[in-house]
């Protein structure tokens, strides 16, 4: 009875609403499109900028296209150690991701499944860590690393990157592993499997979705990290991409087109990955935020 009644009501209500709403809808769509422009146009502008000659940049023609594309800006930029920085970033980020996943999934498994007294305490420690700003550890870490003689090596980046990625990783993995049914392990134990075997053969394979989330979060955070790299690294050949881009741009202050080209090149790896995996990345980062 209810459904038929509402159906009648809806029929009556719809025409009036639709008229009013189409106007509101037009405004809403206009507003949302303006936002697309404000969020994306600066990046597009940078790309166009990077293809202009210095004269074109300096003459106030900010939305005109370049007369001819100055690809030479890009060759000037590529001379600036770009590939070296890219490789360094790849190395540092992938080692960090591997360590984070391995170490945090081990710890998360212990916290979520083992029967022991201090599980909650350990979890609390990691939770507190999420509130601690990384830059507060910058100075003491620098002194510590100097004494250990690992300042200005990739280890001085990877260690803090791993440590600061752990809390959120453990939090996400712990939340997931809690929900795995206990029967799976019980039957494995009956079959005589060791804990390590259960972890590797059963738990890790079913935990692929949260591990992917952790991968995405760690990748975005570490790939983009600038200040630790700029503080702990001084050799040209060890710089990561953000640091490299920043030092190139700060030194090269007159060739505007080349600066633009270098910034585009610096953004390119992440943008390519984003084009391929946009939904996964947005979901992963929101999941990271919401669960954190």
């Amino acid at each position: 009875m209810n459904t038929s009644q509402t159906a009648v009501m809806n029929k009556r209500a719809v025409p009036a609403l639709r008229k009013r709403f189409s106007f509101a809808k037009a405004i809403a769509i206009l507003f949302l499109s303006v936002l697309v422009v404000t969020q994306v146009y600066p990046l597009l502008w940078l790309f166009i900028y990077s293809l202009k000659s210095n004269e074109e940049i300096l003459s106030a023609s900010f939305f005109s296209f370049p007369q001819s594309f100055q690809w030479s800006n890009y060759s000037a930029a590529l001379e600036g150690n770009y590939f070296r920085y890219l490789l360094n970033s790849l190395f540092v980020t992938s080692v960090t991701m591997l360590c984070v996943i391995l170490l945090s999934s081990l710890a998360a498994y212990a916290i979520s499944r083992f029967r022991w007294k201090y599980g909650h305490l350990v979890m609390l420690l990691f939770l507190i860590g999420m509130m601690i700003p990384m830059q507060a550890t910058l100075l003491p870490l620098m002194i510590i690393f100097k004494n250990l003689h690992i300042l200005n090596t990739h280890a001085s980046l990877i260690l803090p990157y791993v440590a600061f990625s752990m809390p959120i990783a453990i939090f996400i993995l712990n939340g997931f592993m809690r929900s795995i049914p206990h029967e799976i392990e019980e039957s494995a134990i009956v079959d005589g499997a060791s804990v390590f075997r259960i972890f590797i053969k059963i738990i890790l394979p079913v935990s692929v979705p949260p591990v992917m989330t952790v991968c995405i979060l760690t990748f975005i955070n570490i790939w983009n990290e600038y200040i630790l790299a700029a503080t702990f690294i001084s050799s040209e050949k060890l710089k990561t991409l953000p640091f490299g881009v920043n030092s190139f741009v700060s030194q090269y202050s007159v060739n505007y087109g080349a600066i633009g080209a270098y910034l585009v090149l610096g953004a390119l790896p992440v943008i390519i990955i984003y084009f391929l995996l946009a939904d996964k990345i947005t979901q992963g980062m929101v999941a990271g935020a919401v669960k954190g």
Partner: protein, 296 residues
């Protein structure tokens, strides 16, 4: 709940590698910096123990400290004002857009880029028109020449130029968080409300707002903590200058320790920052726990 009974050795093998790295990289440095906050030390030579002198100077005698605290808080306030805007955008997206993926991904694009790219991009945009800066050229082109500024070198506007970049970068992030929150509200709830005559903005008033509070809280915490930590972007764009006009707590700490070589003093600022972060998180949680109880 946890069923697996395992030996201590196994527990250690699972937890210790992670825990040891974590404690020695996160907690030990914090303790070290609490201690070095009590020293008069340039980081290399002899250190003298001066007790709470650094903290006393910091809180009562440093002309740079309170202004940088104020800027940090302003940062937090501005980014909290952004969240209702993000919620509004998210509501519009849910109501009017059938396939929001393209819009959402475009809004999110600035979020995934490094602060270096964002910072340098906006530095280029803020450049004087004669150096190719888009903003000033745009203002000149529409006849607002008197509005043109050297956005990052003029102490009266430099800080606002920085706030703006941070808001610009994270709008997409907060929008997406709110949007995900709204999409997780079951459609039946809205349908039921429709039957009761609640549609459009009254549905938002009685359904979306109360049900989104936990997500709203997350956004607030994230933006508050994020602002307290706002650091890299300022280092890239102004380094705290001109003449400390854009210093926030963390850039002040960095400049004191690495440029002025007052390592002990810098550590006391770091300690202050950690304490403020922890207290702020607790406070926000307490406030929201109360309001959640009121609404649910």
């Amino acid at each position: 709940m946890n069923v697996l009974k395992v030996s201590r050795l196994t527990i250690a093998a699972f937890v210790l590698p992670c825990l040891l790295i974590y404690i020695s990289i996160v907690f030990v440095p914090i303790l070290v910096s609490l201690y070095s906050g009590l020293l008069d030390w340039n980081g290399i030579g002899e250190a003298t123990f001066v007790g709470l002198d650094n903290f006393r100077n910091l809180l009562f005698h440093d002309p740079l400290f309170w202004p940088s605290v104020r800027r940090t808080l302003m940062f937090a306030v501005f980014s909290m004002f952004e969240i209702p805007v993000a919620l509004f955008v998210a509501i519009l997206l849910r109501r009017y857009i059938r396939k929001p993926n393209f819009l959402v991904s475009s809004y999110f694009l600035p979020v995934i880029l490094s602060v270096v790219i964002i910072g340098q991009l906006w530095k280029t945009i803020y450049n004087p028109g004669s150096m190719g800066g888009m903003l000033n050229q745009l203002l000149t082109a529409v006849g607002l020449e008197s509005w043109t500024r050297v956005w990052l070198s003029d102490p009266s506007v430099a800080m606002y130029s920085l706030y703006f970049v941070a808001l610009w970068q994270y709008l997409g992030y907060h929008t997406l968080i709110q949007f995900t929150g709204i999409m997780n509200i079951p459609a039946e709830v809205y349908e039921a409300a429709k039957i009761d005559g609640a549609e459009a903005f009254s549905a938002d008033r009685y359904i979306t707002f109360p049900m989104i509070i936990p997500i709203f809280k997350i956004s607030i915490v994230l933006s508050f903590i994020g602002s307290l930590q706002a650091f890299d972007m300022i280092m890239v764009m102004t380094g705290g200058g001109p003449a400390h006009a854009t210093d926030v707590i963390s850039t002040l700490m960095y400049n004191m320790s690495f440029l002025s070589m007052k390592y002990g003093y810098g550590s006391s600022i770091a300690a202050f920052l950690v304490i403020v972060c922890l207290i702020a998180t607790l406070l926000i949680n307490m406030i929201f726990n109360k309001s959640e109880k009121r609404y649910t």
